[in-house]
């Protein structure tokens, strides 16, 4: 689906069209689930935050001014809702996503895959970053976004995006084996 199609869908949601909302929900569910899992590292929070995001879309679709892509607007909402949820419900003492309640569909293999992903070497390295730094890394390398677009999603100046990436790169290089670097190149 193109950005224009998504805009049309969002405009219909703005008129409280439930069918359009259901289509948007199906279109974005997996993308938001994956993004929120990467951002929060908390399987137990993802479903709840995802619903918060969808509710915000339902309520606020009329305020979307079309200056950015619909996905930028939606991921921006998800970013802020995700950080709010982390602040509201900090991780347990062990800081481990494994400790939280199970998600609704806990028997599904995909949820197990999500758990495995969190436990991998890269997952641990990414987990050691702050959520703000992690968001920049994921939005850059996984979602392939340009830095001005990332700045819009996370709601900060482009230089802050670059600074977060700078610190994240340095940290990842320390933690990821096989990156083969003798020293700081910057």
């Amino acid at each position: 689906m193109t950005s224009t199609d998504e805009l049309t869908l969002l405009r219909r949601v703005a008129t409280k069209d439930r069918k359009a909302f259901e289509a948007l929900y199906h279109l974005y569910y997996r993308r938001l689930f994956g993004y929120l899992l990467k951002l929060t590292r908390r399987v137990d929070l993802v479903e709840e935050v995802l619903n918060d995001v969808m509710l915000a879309i339902w309520k606020g679709a009329a305020s979307f001014d079309g200056r950015s892509r619909p996905s930028t607007w939606i991921f921006g909402i998800a970013y802020h809702k995700g950080l709010k949820a982390l602040a509201r419900r900090p991780a347990e003492v062990d800081g481990d996503a494994e400790g939280g309640p199970e998600p609704v569909d806990r028997d599904e293999p995909e949820s197990l895959a999500a758990r495995r992903e969190l436990a991998g070497v890269l997952g641990r390295a990414l987990g050691s970053l702050s959520p703000e730094q992690r968001a920049v890394v994921e939005l850059t390398y996984y979602y392939g976004l340009a830095y001005p677009e990332i700045a819009e999603i996370v709601g900060c100046p482009v230089n802050t995006v670059k600074t977060r990436m700078f610190h994240a790169r340095r940290r990842l290089r320390e933690l990821l084996p096989g990156m083969g670097v003798s020293g700081y190149a910057g």
Binding site: F21, F33, L55, W58, A62, A113, A114, L122, Y141, Y142
Partner: protein, 232 residues
């Protein structure tokens, strides 16, 4: 000479910062060209570019691990929307009459919003004046804060487990048929609490209706407290 070196170092720093976005192919053309020119001559940036590509590859390998939405999840989402809208209506009071106007304002391009709001204000003033002059009230009634609040609608709670093969549409239609609403769940065993109006069909009839669709409902029974238990 020193100035030249300082300038070269500044260019190096700027390029070094941009490498992640050079690697993901999102740089604007001018920036990309600037990075490529510098990269051709800078060993440190060439090494860093390799690291960025390797990191990007690792992150991409993380893959999309998200499950597909279950129909019940969408059902719960829609129930939450209804709940939220009901709360908004209740809390908005008489201002809810202005809600369509607010949507219209939000959907109007910014430069025209002021004119639209001013026009609406003038119309409202005129209508108000006409109403006041032609319908001067003779008897007025007042509601005091001590008046009792409207009583909540009593409901009956049922414990329902949906079939994993049931679609969201089937569940929605069934719930609409019994005027039911999912209010809690799933429990560890996958059961949901569905509330139906106590003033509606008798509980036995509602349960029979649910059980008559085994492709949608695996089991349905009164929640703890029996069929007579009403929640408020």
């Amino acid at each position: 000479m020193r100035e030249q070196e300082a300038h070269g170092e500044r260019v190096h720093q700027r390029v070094w910062e941009l490498l992640p976005w050079y690697v993901n192919g999102s740089l604007a053309e001018r920036e990309r060209e600037r990075v490529e020119t510098h990269l051709a001559a800078c060993l440190r940036c060439q090494e860093e570019e390799r690291i960025c590509r390797r990191t990007a590859g690792e992150v991409a390998k993380g893959g999309e691990v998200a499950p597909a939405p279950h129909p019940v999840q969408l059902q719960r989402m829609l129930a939450r929307i209804e709940e939220s809208e009901r709360e908004e209506k209740e809390s908005a009071g008489p201002w809810r009459l202005l809600a369509p106007l607010r949507s219209l304002v939000q959907a109007t391009p910014r430069p025209l919003r002021g004119a639209l709001v001013a026009q609406a204000a003038v119309i409202l003033l005129l209508v108000g004046f006409l109403g006041w002059s032609s319908l001067r009230p003779t008897n007025q009634t007042f509601v005091t804060k001590s008046d009792p609040a409207p009583a909540p609608v009593p409901t009956v709670r049922l414990r329902v487990m949906f079939s994993p093969r049931a679609t969201e549409k089937e569940i929605r239609e069934l719930l609409q048929g019994i005027r039911g609403k999912i209010t809690a769940g799933p429990s560890p065993s996958g059961a949901y609490v569905v509330e139906v109006p106590a003033a509606g069909d008798p509980t036995d009839v509602v349960l029979a209706r649910l059980r008559s669709e085994p492709q949608v409902v695996m089991f349905a029974q009164p929640a703890a407290g029996g069929p007579g238990e009403a929640a408020q």
